[in-house]
């Protein structure tokens, strides 16, 4: 544990940008756009699958105020992916900016750029498109071997083998096995088998997707984008537009939420194309309907689970078989698929064999993409539901079966290549959670007055912290001429507060007050490289990069101060913003050092830069407990209480960690109880407004209570791990389990709607 007392780290410091954004200061993409920017609208396909036979834009182009209309004839012929991933991306290059084939309702057909929205919409109506409608693939369970092939084009490529078989509509196949699962299962006394269907979920961030582009004084393309991944957007645009990356600058201002959605490109490429064609500033803002139906969602999946346990209640085999619906394009298809096992199988390590296999398939629906939890959410729902079932079969308390089987500190797990677990407080999380929720008194159910029954249920989960051996982050810190520090980072704060917590870490190491540090982030011209905020990377990787840079800079300041004082580096310390001689006369202030190094004859601006990547991705943990009340007359489920106990290592900023946890839990509650992306039988999305797609409002969430059980992760900055994603995973299995414990209805298809519960109860009678 950390022994020295810390001044910045571990304190609930308000976010450095908090007051400004709360007060509505202009800081987001649209606020920064030039008023004369062209307004873009996209003509979208009304068909789930079709070829464009002809497209006539001549009438539309005559509308006064129309600047240009672009179709598939006007775009480069190089396929790319919108997935924001490190190069070489594991997502297939399966899109063109516009194509003469449309693969889902909402796929882009033409870009209209005009002086204002009204003009663009008027022109859109005058575009004539003739389609040859094809038979779409809508049911993902029938995609493999379907007579229709979603991607029949010859020029689709992958950077490496992800198991793509496009003629069978398979984007990616994955198999990982350790030990002989079938054999171990055969020897198990207890076997549980079940199938679960986590649904497609919409990110529904409050700020819809948007991008503003212009050419600067050197003719470079500047893209101001509401994105989580500015560096990836830059590379993506270079490929899609076939221009050198050096000609592109991407700036991420404040962004109004992402949740993984903004790890995939959206309108940037359209605005950029228009700016390149016209030389004029352009802006694209997706409306809410487009945001729901023309971007990405969480991957819907079918997950078959088989669990085997011995007579003593030890889980000996886990077998997962996954089918993942990636929709019309393969963004994040292979990686979300593999993460289903990556972030579930290591939970339990008394196993003798584990396996995950599966396919991600193309269908003619909106693409799926990255979404907070990234496969772990779906895998956790399936695995934890099965573990709850196993507990019942074994007549062991669900909390006890976990305590008996979870991986402990210093232990290895089958898929872990021998790496020992550096930190875990999951056992404490489980114990604390069951105490907080009143598990002993409430498990499994209590009959209330009227027709109400209450039940409790639980689940545990893990995630990673960054992507081992792939994710890297860089940070640079400069002592500025005014004696302050400029912290340059590529990490992209999307409300999560990373600009603040990274400053806290820098301030801690440099031993200066937080207000002496100012952050410049998320600009590909001035920030050092960072893949962006995803994969729960920022605290863990960027945090460590910041610490390394700060330590180096501090060394330089001490050395320089010592030099000015005419003593050796070992004879000085840093204290009260000055370099002082130990036990003797003489000190020089930071401001003076800055002045004398940078100005006048110093000729030496002190700065340090560091890059950090990790060979491991230490897991944060959550134990989640739900108490629900089911109305047996209607099947309605009310969430009464949700307790989540989190191990994210050291909390760098407890308040921000808590809010992350509360927000993630509520997003998970939405997934468990309300949210579902649904399509008509022609493949048109039916849930494209907040009227049809319900996200939790204040009245829906009952009481959400968060507690922390800190561990100390030796490889993390100040012992920290991640928190951003892990918090989204427990509500689905815990709530489903609570409903089961209340009324005996096991829901396999999320979300848990009153209809499903009611109909199942009827069947039981």
């Amino acid at each position: 544990m950390q022994e020295v007392s810390l001044r910045n780290v571990g304190h609930s410091i308000p976010k450095i940008d908090g007051l400004s954004i709360a007060m509505g200061k202009p800081a987001y993409t649209e606020d920064l756009a030039m008023p004369q920017a062209l307004v873009l609208k996209i003509l979208r396909s009304p068909h789930a699958f079709a070829k464009i036979i002809s497209i006539d834009t001549s009438k539309a182009e005559l509308v006064e105020g129309v600047e240009c209309i672009l179709t598939y004839k006007d775009v480069p012929k190089e396929r790319f992916t919108l997935a924001g991933q490190s190069y070489p991306e594991p997502s297939p290059y399966d899109r063109l900016i516009l194509e003469n084939v449309v693969r889902y309702v909402g796929d882009e057909v033409a870009i209209i750029a005009a002086v204002d929205e009204k003009t663009a919409l008027k022109a859109m109506k005058l575009i004539n498109v003739e389609y040859e409608v094809l038979e779409p693939v809508l049911d993902f369970e029938k995609a493999i071997g379907h007579p229709s092939v979603v991607h029949f084009e010859e020029d689709l490529t992958c950077n490496f083998d992800i198991g793509l078989h496009k003629e069978q509509n398979i984007v990616s196949s994955h198999e990982q096995a350790v030990g002989d699962v079938e054999k171990v299962l055969k020897d198990c006394e207890f076997i549980v088998e079940d199938v679960y269907y986590p649904q497609a979920q919409a990110h529904a961030m409050m700020e819809t997707y948007r991008s503003f582009t212009y050419q600067d004084h050197m003719g470079r393309l500047v893209v101001v984008s509401s994105t989580q991944v500015p560096f990836h957007i830059k590379r993506q645009l270079a490929r899609a537009l076939q221009i050198p990356a050096a000609k592109i600058r991407v700036i991420k201002p404040r962004i109004g939420g992402g949740f993984g959605g903004k790890q995939t490109g959206a309108g940037d490429v359209f605005a950029a194309l228009v700016t390149l064609r016209t030389g004029k500033p352009a802006m694209i803002i997706y409306d809410r309907q487009e945001t729901f139906s023309c971007t990405t969602s969480r991957h819907a999946m079918r997950i078959k689970v088989r669990l085997g346990a011995d007579a003593d209640g030890f889980i000996r085999a886990i077998d997962l078989e996954v089918l993942s619906d990636t929709g019309a394009y393969g963004e994040h298809a292979s990686t979300v698929l593999s993460c289903v096992g990556e972030y579930t199988l290591p939970l339990y390590n008394k196993t003798k064999a584990v396996r995950i296999r599966g396919n991600a398939v193309y269908t003619n629906k909106m693409p799926a993409g990255a979404f907070r939890g990234y496969g772990a959410t779906q895998g956790t729902f399936a695995l934890e539901s099965a573990v709850n079932k196993l507990a019942e079969r074994l007549a062991i308390d669900p909390t006890e079966i976990r305590l008996k089987n979870i991986s402990q500190k210093g232990e290895t797990f089958l898929t872990g290549h021998g790496v020992q677990l550096g930190s875990t407080a999951l056992d404490r999380c489980i114990k604390k959670g069951r105490e907080m929720v009143g598990w002993k008194e409430k498990f499994p159910r209590q009959t209330m007055s009227g027709a109400k029954i209450r039940g409790v249920g639980m689940a545990i989960t893990m995630q990673g912290s960054g992507i081992a051996n792939i994710g890297t982050a860089s940070a640079e810190i400069r002592l500025t001429d005014d004696g302050n520090f400029a912290l340059l980072i590529g990490a992209t704060d999307m409300g999560t507060g990373c600009d603040t917590i990274l400053s806290q870490m820098a301030a801690e190491v440099l031993e200066v007050p937080l207000d002496k540090i100012y952050v410049s982030a998320g600009d590909t011209d001035t920030s050092p490289f960072d893949p962006g905020s995803y994969a729960s990377s920022t605290t863990y990787l960027a945090g460590t990069a910041v610490i390394k840079a700060a330590e180096e800079l501090k060394g330089k300041i001490l050395a320089q101060g010592a030099k000015f004082l005419g003593v050796s580096k070992e004879d000085v310390i840093f204290e009260e913003l000055s370099v002082r001689r130990i036990g003797g006369e003489g000190e020089i202030s930071l401001a003076k050092i800055a002045e004398q190094t940078i100005l006048g004859m110093g000729n030496l601006q002190l700065a340090a830069m560091a890059t950090h990547g990790s060979q491991i991705s230490p897991p944060p943990y959550v134990a989640g407990f739900a108490e629900v009340e089911v109305d047996v007359e209607t099947g309605k489920v009310d969430l009464i209480d949700y307790v989540a106990v989190v191990d994210c290592g050291t909390m760098i900023n407890p308040n921000l960690a808590r809010i992350q946890a509360e927000g993630g839990i509520v997003q998970g509650i939405g997934m468990a109880l309300f949210e579902e992306v649904r399509y008509s039988n022609l493949g048109k999305m039916e849930t494209n407004t907040f009227m049809q797609y319900k996200i939790p409002c204040r009245q829906d969430v009952g009481n959400v209570r968060i507690a922390f059980e800190e561990s100390y992760e030796p490889s993390g900055p100040f012992g920290a791990k991640s928190i951003g994603e892990v918090v989204a995973n427990t509500p689905s299995p815990a709530i489903v389990n609570a409903v089961y414990n209340a009324v005996g209805v096991q829901v396999h298809h999320l979300p848990v709607t009153p209809e499903k519960v009611f109909l199942e109860m009827l069947k039981q009678q």
């Binding site: 609930s12 308000p14 976010k15 940008d17 908090g18 007051l19 400004s20 954004i21 709360a22 007060m23 509505g24 200061k25 202009p26 800081a27 987001y28 606020d31 990110h203 529904a204 961030m205 409050m206 700020e207 819809t208 404040r254 962004i255 109004g256 939420g257 949740f259 409306d287 809410r288 309907q289 999307m494 409300g495 999560t496 507060g497 900023n653 308040n655 921000l656 808590r658 809010i659 992350q660 509360e662 927000g663 993630g664 839990i665 509520v666 997003q667 407004t689 907040f690 009227m691 996200i695 939790p696 409002c697 204040r698 009245q699 969430v701 959400v704 968060i706």
Partner: protein
């Protein structure tokens, strides 16, 4: 057409289109605190006051604001900041996109309700969606602000 109205205590005369909505008109005139997050009057982000009462500016035709007093967060900066400090002390502004509309409704509630219960607070604010925070931190901030338990 032209409308005359008072925005944040200043009289203004604005040229507008007949089918323009107030949220867009306000943004076009530099009141960039006014955010929009839906097309269906569901999210509350666009909340401003009309004659002192909270309204959804995305669904009010600008011509209906003729002769009215409109207040945005810029017009009640001092009171808003008092609450915003409490909100940020909780960390309950994450992306912040929902915050201005939320704050306008919180201030309106303070004017309207005396010592509201937790249920009344939740009920009053339920139209203000937030996808980031999970609402609990906002509730803690509101209770601190109102001095209710």
């Amino acid at each position: 057409m032209q409308i005359e109205l008072i925005v944040n205590d200043k009289s203004v005369t604005w040229d507008i289109e007949k089918d323009e909505f107030l949220a867009d008109t306000l943004r076009a005139h530099g009141f960039l605190s006014v955010k929009k997050a839906c097309d269906t009057s569901c999210c509350g982000l666009c909340t401003v006051w009309m004659d002192g009462k909270p309204v959804l500016s995305c669904s009010i035709l600008s011509m209906r604001a003729h002769g009215k007093k409109i207040t945005t967060i810029e017009g009640v900066a001092q009171a808003a900041e008092e609450f915003a400090h409490i909100l940020t002390a909780e960390g309950a502004e994450q992306c912040g996109f929902c915050s201005p509309g939320f704050i306008m409704n919180v201030l309106a509630m303070k004017n309207e309700l005396d010592n509201p219960t937790e249920d009344e607070i939740i009920h009053y604010l339920t139209g203000n969606l937030c996808r980031c925070t999970g609402y609990m931190g906002q509730l803690r901030a509101v209770k601190t602000y109102l001095g209710v338990a």
